[in-house]
Subunit: 216 residues, 2 copies
DNA sequence: CTTCCATATTAGGTACACCTAACTCTAGGT
DNA sequence: ACCTAGAGTTAGGTGTACCTAATATGGAAG
């Protein structure tokens, strides 16, 4: 059951993430996300289908139970690695992604458990995403985008769908991090910016940025 | 200067270790150490020579300055990983080798420095081997094998040249770990066992085991 | 109904890192 | 002097994971 290559893990992880908003995942979106050519992905998808890790129909690819379970294991390792980097080694949240993307393929089940225990079984990564437990159970919180809120609505930031370090740095500089309360002051029409209030300060946020911040 | 594959790193690391006791390293010993066929090693050695990482003469291979410097970087990452595993995650010294052998290829210079700092810049790995500093400076302590001691000689264990988990477990069970003082009670002739005294107990040690324990 | 575009695949090729089988070469033993 | 063991290389081949160029294919727009 084990013994997959880093690349196989990378594909499964990407598919799992992409199928959150596009159910059967198209190979072109997958290629784009993995930064690979369409034929490379096409070929690899065929191999993964042969190994029983996904099914491939005209609509796109869907992970099998086995594929999903490996994907969640990789995501668990990624997020636990991120926590180790921030909580133990003092990384900032904008520095952890690439490092964790390599570590996730190098750590064993044993190490995965040890990290989790040492950190007191954290429930989320530094960006607020839930860490699947060791049996692959992933609690999905009911969240919406900050961009969906109306003037005078409030929300508590749960997570941030963003990996770009510059964007993460920017968000952190405004205090837009998990567990912080945000109040919407004003929403400009025609997809314009939102004025939000965070820990006493007011900022104008682009809709694109706001859509990546999930609140409850 | 960076951007080597895990395999290249593995070769350089092995060559560096082997050239401690056999100066120009023969490709056959290298193949044996890496558990690869002789032709595979022969081929790879040619590539590494082309990249300027080693020179290849009739006597064997010798690392160039660049090859040595990469090798020491990998060894530094390996030993720092081992320390992270034991000191932060609670691994025993017999559990760390394989894990560290994967981690050493996944961690960045940044992470390397952060681990070192977080642990207070440790000077040795859990087995007592020195950790090269970030500029590749490696302090070599003047040690000899426990097996070279005569009856009534004493020594303090510096390091243990052993990776096999069962052997390491055995040594730890007798208290044969770095910084411990050992006294030789008796040396049986014809390469027979040595009777040693460690923290109040006496044990009979095979010569093979004793030769792997370095003392000062 | 045709044209065109996005999506996907096929065809053919590369780099990397491994393998076995077969060959060469050299130093020692008899 | 001759034979042989060990060390090393050459030759030929495999699997993985990527690439570009060319080729289908299924709608939307004209
Ligand atoms: Mn990854
Ligand atoms: Mn994260
Ligand atoms: Mn390694
Ligand atoms: Mn060690």
């Amino acid at each position: 059951m084990e013994a997959d290559t880093p690349r196989v893990e990378e594909y499964l992880e990407s598919i799992y993430k992409l199928q959150q908003d596009q159910y059967p995942v198209s190979t072109s979106r997958l290629a784009e996300h993995l930064k690979l050519s369409a034929p490379s992905v096409s070929e690899m998808v065929k191999k993964l289908a042969n190994r029983g890790l996904l099914s491939h129909t005209e609509k796109g690819v869907c992970l099998t139970e086995e594929g999903k379970s490996i994907a969640k294991k990789v995501i668990r390792r990624h997020r636990l690695s991120e926590r180790l980097l921030t909580d133990v080694l003092g990384y900032r949240w904008d520095e952890v992604h690439d490092e964790a993307c390599r570590l996730e393929h190098a750590i064993s089940s044993e190490m995965e458990e040890r990290i989790s225990e040492s950190l007191g079984n954290p429930r989320t990564c530094p960006h607020g995403h839930p860490i699947p437990d060791k049996d692959g159970v992933l609690v999905k919180e009911n969240v919406k985008s900050l961009s969906e809120l109306k003037a005078s609505d409030r929300g508590i930031i749960v997570s941030v769908f963003e990996e770009d370090p510059r964007m993460l740095k920017y968000m952190a500089s405004l205090g837009l991090i998990p567990d912080v309360c945000v109040r919407v002051e004003e929403v400009a029409p025609f997809g314009g910016p939102m004025i939000v209030c965070v820990s006493g300060s007011r900022y104008a946020l682009g809709r694109e940025v706001a859509s990546r911040i999930k609140v409850k």
